[in-house]
């Protein structure tokens, strides 16, 4: 029971408002981009089947649903994350500065078992813009100082590096999950909509 493979990876995307979290998701899943900014409405989570390390896994990417706008993300959002993607906007130094507090916030709220080795991936978004303010070197240095987090410069608009970044995210989430499996904290969790699966698994009501 404790070694049951989790085929679902939960990835959460964090970062200041309007750095392009939802757009990155949309580019990755739907290969679409919208210039029209609207504080995230309707974005919930996206699922995509990915092949990482010869395994097919379902990656579930959770958007903040706009609740970060007034610093109002609840702890429930962070539960059970396998990977955390930190996004900033290369044209906004503030959004880069805030990555520190987003990372801390994640570690506090999600309180992963092994905070030093929890997989983060950092994305510097909007590299297609010409008013860049945060240099690649500065971003890389910061990532190195935090246990060498992988860093990608992306454009949700033209798709630069988006596929590559999410592949890394999937692989790192999977690696994390392999370790967690050794001591699965909460076996036998029930999801209500997968009613049938649970029924087949645990119920002993029909075998007597």
């Amino acid at each position: 029971m404790a070694t049951r493979k989790k085929s679902l990876l939960k990835v959460i995307i964090l970062g200041d408002s309007s750095v392009g979290k939802t757009s990155l998701m949309n580019q990755y899943i739907n290969k679409r981009f919208s210039n029209q900014y609207k504080a995230t409405i309707g974005a919930d989570f996206c699922t995509k089947e990915v092949i990482a390390d010869d395994r097919v896994v379902t990656m579930q990417i959770w958007d903040t649903a706009g609740q970060e706008r007034f610093q109002s993300l609840g702890v429930a959002f962070y539960r059970g994350a396998d990977c955390c993607v930190l996004v900033y906007d290369v044209t906004s130094p503030n959004s880069f500065k805030n990555l520190d507090s987003w990372r801390d916030e994640f570690l506090i709220q999600a309180s992963p078992r092994d905070p030093d080795h929890f997989p983060f991936v950092v994305l510097g978004n909007k590299v297609d813009m010409d008013n860049r303010q945060v240099s690649t070197r500065r971003a890389q240095q910061w990532c190195q100082s935090k246990n060498d987090m992988p860093y990608f410069e992306t454009s949700a608009k033209d798709g630069t590096n988006v596929e590559l970044a999410f592949q890394t995210i999937a692989r790192n989430a999977l690696a994390q999950e392999a370790e967690v499996e050794l001591y699965n904290e909460f076996p036998d969790q029930i999801r209500l909509n997968t009613d049938r699966n649970n029924r087949n698994g645990n119920s002993d009501n029909c075998q007597c």
Binding site: T47, Q71, V75, S111
Partner: protein, 566 residues
């Protein structure tokens, strides 16, 4: 930051407790613009869960408007080192008799417990869900269930002659239990089968015969033993001596209908505590465009006389709204003072006396706590009073490994929760009983209730401002859902309450307008089609359940025959 907010909303909701979050989600779901505010820095209000450190801090500061009469006590030493040095005194104080229990207690100190603070999720208002109950149905039908995970309650227990026994739930439970003899097993199965088919022709006579009588009288008529009677009365129907026959029958059926869906018992507990539930509703609200602002104070609310539009003053900024829904404790003082007589503070009734206890050992036998400890439910009686006890192990995500968390809830009789709970606490944590769990920490508080009285009309007499209800004394969320729905119906009379939200993969992105992401913008005919599909899918479920039940009945008959052969 408030400056970024729009200055007009359809609905402003104050407080992020369960009923407020329900209304916010439902309004947002049908396309209303919603601003959801909470003066606290956390979600859930009086429905929230806390880590150990923040819980202790909340009690230390004496609670708040909604949580009062707080007290807490550490039953272990400050640090482990001290504990070892003074082990004799510690042992003397807590009456530890066995070495093993002594060792367990000594594994913990205030310091070591607080080090694991974030592994705790201490519910102010803990609940247990019937697997086929109102909340589970709502979570599934609205698709909010995708935001939460659950754990099946491992055992339903009852006290019988000072022992805590497991109430067999599944058929295999009944046959495996050592607590019942063969005759009792047969009687219990027979009785439960009878209840299952109640309403069908077989028990029509009973229905007539027992109308106006109590469920207890009905049980006596069935000639069940005292033990069976207690199992049924305490754990299955959860009723009292004066519960009517119809009510007892309905509750037994509720229990039976929830069996066999998920785990071994008919009950579920939300992973990481019940504080997750309001947040799930808030997320749905946010996904459909609701705006969230924690840590914001409402200074005042004014109502325009001719239009009935509310002006909410939020940290100096005025925001207009058609309606305001607020948790009772969050209406601003300025507003209440100005409206004494009309909006006068209602009398405080329906309060709850709560106890939270931590122990290094579980309650009851090894069997009840196999595999590291069960999530167990136990209803306690003392005279005419009753209380609900929920034991949680680390499997529920609410406490660290090696610690057991106990919630006891009863209706408040006084403003001294410790005194209200004493008759129940002494039943389970009796220091003279060497098998009783040894306490590491205990806390008491009152969850303030509030309900309108005829003398002082509640704020919901107005057509603009509506007050939600505080947690009820009930196992599940039934009454709270009903009251949230009532408010929603007053706001939007003909609208559907939380129709199913589409799964992300069902959403077709049309063009580049993010608004197209909402199901509401689907053409009517497509929406209709979706509904039809959903309905037919639901019907399939029902048929399935019927078939399963039919199967069970046949098995049951076979078993009864086998036993008769014995």
């Amino acid at each position: 930051m408030s400056d970024d907010l729009p200055d007009k909303f359809d609905l402003i909701v104050i407080g992020t407790g369960f009923p407020e979050s329900c209304v916010a989600a439902a309004a947002s779901r049908i396309g209303k613009t919603v601003l959801h505010i909470d003066p606290n820095e956390y979600y859930g209000g009086v429905w929230a869960s806390f880590n150990l450190e923040s819980f202790c801090a909340l009690l230390e500061q004496g609670g708040n408007k909604e949580l009062r009469n707080a007290s807490q006590k550490w039953h272990v030493a400050e640090t482990l080192k001290v504990a070892e040095a003074e082990s004799d005194t510690v042992a003397g104080e807590t009456n530890i008799k066995t070495d093993a229990a002594k060792q367990n207690v000594l594994d913990w100190s205030r310091e070591t417990l607080l080090q694991q603070s974030r592994r705790f999720n201490l519910d102010l208002s803990p609940k247990i869900l019937y697997s086929a109950g109102r909340l589970v149905q709502l979570l599934v039908s609205s698709n909010i269930c995708r935001y939460a995970e659950f754990r099946a309650v491992d055992h339903v227990c009852t006290r019988f002659q000072n022992n805590i026994i497991n109430v067999p739930c599944s058929r295999s439970d009944v046959f495996n239990t050592k607590d019942l003899n063969i005759v009792e097993k047969r009687l219990l199965m027979k009785f439960l089968t009878l209840c299952m088919t109640y309403g069908e022709d077989k028990t029509d006579e009973d229905a007539l015969q027992f109308r106006g009588k109590t469920f207890r009288e009905y049980l006596q008529e069935q000639k069940v033993t005292e033990k069976i009677s207690i199992c049924v009365m305490q754990a299955i129907a959860m009723c009292n001596d004066d519960t009517s026959f119809e009510e007892g029958m309905a509750r037994t059926q509720q229990f039976l209908n929830s069996l066999g869906r998920y785990g071994n018992t008919p009950f579920l507990f939300p992973m990481y505590g019940c504080g997750e539930i309001p947040q799930c509703f808030c997320r749905l609200c946010a996904v459909f465009g609701g705006i969230y602002c924690l840590k914001r104070q409402i200074d005042d609310i004014n109502i325009e006389a001719d239009t009935n539009i509310a002006s909410v003053v939020l940290e100096g900024k005025t925001i207009k709204a058609q309606h305001v829904v607020s948790a009772p404790g969050h209406l601003p003082n300025a507003f209440l003072q100005r409206n004494v007589g009309v909006y006068g503070q209602a009398e405080l009734v329906n309060s709850l006396s709560r106890g939270i206890f931590l122990s290094a050992t579980p309650l009851g036998s090894e069997e009840l706590n196999s595999g590291g400890g069960g999530v167990n439910l136990l209803r306690l009686l003392a005279g005419t009073q009753e209380a609900i006890l929920i034991q949680l192990s680390h499997f529920s995500g609410t406490c660290p490994k090696g610690v057991f968390l106990f919630h006891i809830t009863t209706t408040a009789q006084s403003d001294q929760p410790a005194q209200d709970l004493a008759p129940f606490v002494s039943q389970v944590f009796n220091p003279d009983d060497e098998n009783a769990p040894k306490l590491l920490y205990s806390a008491y508080f009152t969850i303030m209730g509030r309900e309108r009285t005829s003398a002082t009309p509640n704020v919901d007499v107005s057509t603009t401002i509506f007050c939600t209800s505080t947690p009820y004394y009930e196992l599940d969320y039934d009454k709270s859902i009903i009251s949230a729905r009532e408010i929603f119906a007053k706001l939007y009379a003909d609208a559907e309450f939380l129709p199913r939200a589409p799964d992300p993969e069902e959403i077709v992105i049309e063009g580049e307008d993010p608004r197209a992401l909402s199901e509401n913008s689907l053409p009517d005919d497509l929406r209709e089609q979706l509904r039809e599909l959903e309905n037919s899918a639901e019907n399939m479920d029902i048929e399935d359940t019927d078939a399963a039940q039919a199967g069970e009945c046949t098995q049951e008959d076979a078993e009864t025959q086998n036993m008769d052969a014995d």
